[in-house]
């Protein structure tokens, strides 16, 4: 009896390892197919602008809304932290640095992970469970080139643009909040904002945003293509897409900080 239980535990462990390896293999095969499909520009090109509008342009409002409130909160938070110890014009420095380097890319990325990742996973999952993707294959369409690549390209291109606009709007919101709520003059806020500004700040934020866009769209597409079992499977795929996208955004954030930001002196 005991031997049978031990055997079942070992089998479960082996099965878990096999599933994980299979998943890694599927993901690798998916990325390989994606890279191959990237060369089929004639297929994905016409679809790209539609996806760019759906994933990018239509996501601008949520990105800007997040940026506005982020800028206001940052200004107030900096003012609260600096009171009596650090000159208030450093509010501009903190708003500029944190907005461009971290908060605009990460918060916008997380918001878009929910909106874009879930949308892609649900759409592709529905197509999978309703066998529309099988139909495309039957009609000699490359599903990766026709469905996945336009979304991945759109996400990779549009995420940095949304984040860039969010940087501008976030700094502007912090500026307005500093003028209206903190009593800072424009000269003081801009002095602080320009004090330690480098073009690297924006470059770093945009590159991070591009990596977030790529990760969110790839994860959403992969989860959608893996959906099975009807509406429940589609919902599960959408949930998995959002969760994995959010985790991947934070992982990539740490990755870029360790590989690019760490050790870099102003």
């Amino acid at each position: 009896m005991a031997i049978a239980q031990i055997r079942s535990v070992i089998e479960a462990t082996g099965r878990w390892v096999r599933f994980r390896l299979e998943e890694v293999g599927r993901a690798g095969r998916f990325l390989g197919q994606l890279a191959r499909a990237l060369t089929d520009v004639r297929t994905w090109g016409p679809m790209a602008t539609l996806q760019m509008r759906t994933l990018g342009v239509d996501s601008l409002p949520i990105g800007l809304l997040i940026a506005v409130f982020t800028g206001i909160v940052l200004a107030l938070l900096a003012s609260y932290s600096f009171t009596g110890a650090v000159p208030l014009y450093f509010v501009g420095t903190l708003v500029e640095k944190t907005t461009t380097l971290e908060l605009a890319p990460v918060l916008t990325g997380l918001a878009l992970a929910g909106r874009v990742g879930a949308s892609i996973a649900a759409e592709l999952g529905t197509m999978r469970v309703t066998e529309q993707i099988d139909a495309l294959e039957t009609l000699a369409y490359d599903p990766e080139a026709y469905l996945i690549v336009p979304r991945v390209v759109a996400g990779t291109v549009m995420f940095p643009l949304i984040v860039g606009v969010a940087m501008v709007v976030g700094l502007g919101a912090g500026w307005v909040a500093s003028l209206g709520l903190l009593g800072l003059s424009s000269e003081e806020f801009l002095k602080g904002a320009r004090l330690f500004y480098e073009n690297f700040d924006i470059t770093y934020g945009l590159v991070k945003a591009a990596s977030f866009g790529f990760a969110v769209t790839v994860i959403g597409s992969y989860q959608g293509l893996q959906a099975e079992g009807g509406a429940e499977g589609v919902g599960h795929a959408a949930t998995q897409a959002v969760v994995y996208s959010a985790v991947m955004i934070l992982v990539l954030d740490a990755f870029w900080a360790m590989t690019w930001l760490h050790g870099r002196s102003g």
Partner: protein
């Protein structure tokens, strides 16, 4: 529908790109189109100065640092973009320094004569100026960390000195110091009193001198009158007669003085002899008084008197015996 998507996406992409680029240029204070004046300065060390830091002339922000380059010769060239209409001082130098305690640096362009009179700064400026033309001499002022380190050392020294003072300045030292202060107060009072007395004395002396001067003036006037009279008397020969009489009197006085001097010398010798006699007499009398010598013994020993007296009595008895019985004592035989 597709064309509408293309337009909207294109619009958003272009707008975003333009907005982001403009945002970056605005934050970095990039120079787009406006005329700027470039000034280059040479430094041995630029500290924590960075591209974008302010350039200040006479306290007014007039530009920013555009680039910092490390030359192969070891110098650091700092290029600064200044407003076009900015006028530089006559002999300009550039000083890099912290503009606040929070790590901000700035470049200050000033006249060489106005540069801090610090040996290190002057040396940096001299070396930079001697390195060649085409760049302004530059120097870096010590940053806050260096200053606080120096202040820390000074504070440590002060602490050690305070400790030593505390060791040296015990209760006894305090008492002695208090006593010294009191003594000094007494001394100052005494000095003040002395000065007051001296001042009074000086006042008296001054008035005496004044009176003396007055007397001298009066005397001088009298002398002047006398001289006038003498002058009028000389015409009758009285002066010559007086002078002759005076000469005679003077000769007499001189002879008398000579006699007196001889008498004085004789008197001095006599006095010395008398002193010697008195000394000897005193010595003899002292010996006699102390019982030294025969005379002293005679004077001081009563037994001698008694023996002499007894001898005289015995001799008187002997003479009487001889008178009474001459044959007992005298036997005269002839043949």
């Amino acid at each position: 529908m597709k064309r509408s998507n293309d337009f909207i996406v294109g619009l958003v992409v272009l707008g975003s790109v333009v907005g982001i680029v403009a945002f970056a240029l605005w934050l970095s204070q990039a120079n787009l189109g406006s005329a700027r004046r470039e000034v280059v300065a040479r430094f041995t060390d630029v500290g924590n100065a960075k591209v974008g830091n302010s350039v200040v002339i006479r306290g007014v922000e007039s530009g920013h640092i555009e680039s910092i380059e490390l030359e192969s010769t070891g110098w650091v060239l700092v290029r600064m973009a200044l407003d076009h209409d900015v006028k530089l001082p006559g002999s300009p130098v550039v000083l890099l320094s912290e503009s606040s305690m929070f790590g901000e640096w700035q470049a200050t362009i000033m006249d060489r004569a106005a540069a801090p009179d610090d040996a290190d700064v002057q040396q940096q400026l001299a070396q930079s100026g001697a390195a060649g033309h085409g760049a302004l001499p530059g120097a870096r002022l010590p940053d806050i960390a260096q200053l606080t380190a120096v202040a820390g050392r000074i504070a440590g020294d002060m602490s050690r000195v305070a400790d030593r003072v505390q060791v040296a300045f015990d209760d006894r030292a305090a008492v002695e110091l208090r006593q010294s202060i009191r003594n000094f107060a007494d001394l100052s009072s005494e000095l003040e009193r002395t000065v007051r007395v001296q001042s009074q004395g000086l006042s008296q002396l001054s008035s005496d001198v004044h009176r003396t001067v007055t007397s001298v003036n009066a005397t001088a006037m009298s002398l002047e009158r006398t001289a006038t009279r003498v002058d009028s008397s000389t015409s009758k020969g009285e002066i010559a007669q007086i002078m002759g009489n005076v000469n005679e009197a003077s000769a007499d006085i001189k002879a008398t003085s000579h006699d007196l001097r001889d008498a004085s010398h004789s008197f001095l010798a006599t006095q010395q002899q008398l002193t010697s006699v008195l000394t000897h007499a005193d010595s003899v009398l002292g010996k006699i008084d102390r019982g030294q010598g025969s005379l002293g013994l005679m004077v001081n020993d009563p037994s001698l008197y008694q023996n002499s007296d007894a001898l005289l009595s015995q001799m008187r008895e002997l003479v009487a015996e001889i008178r009474a019985h001459p044959g007992k004592y005298l036997s005269v035989k002839i043949f």
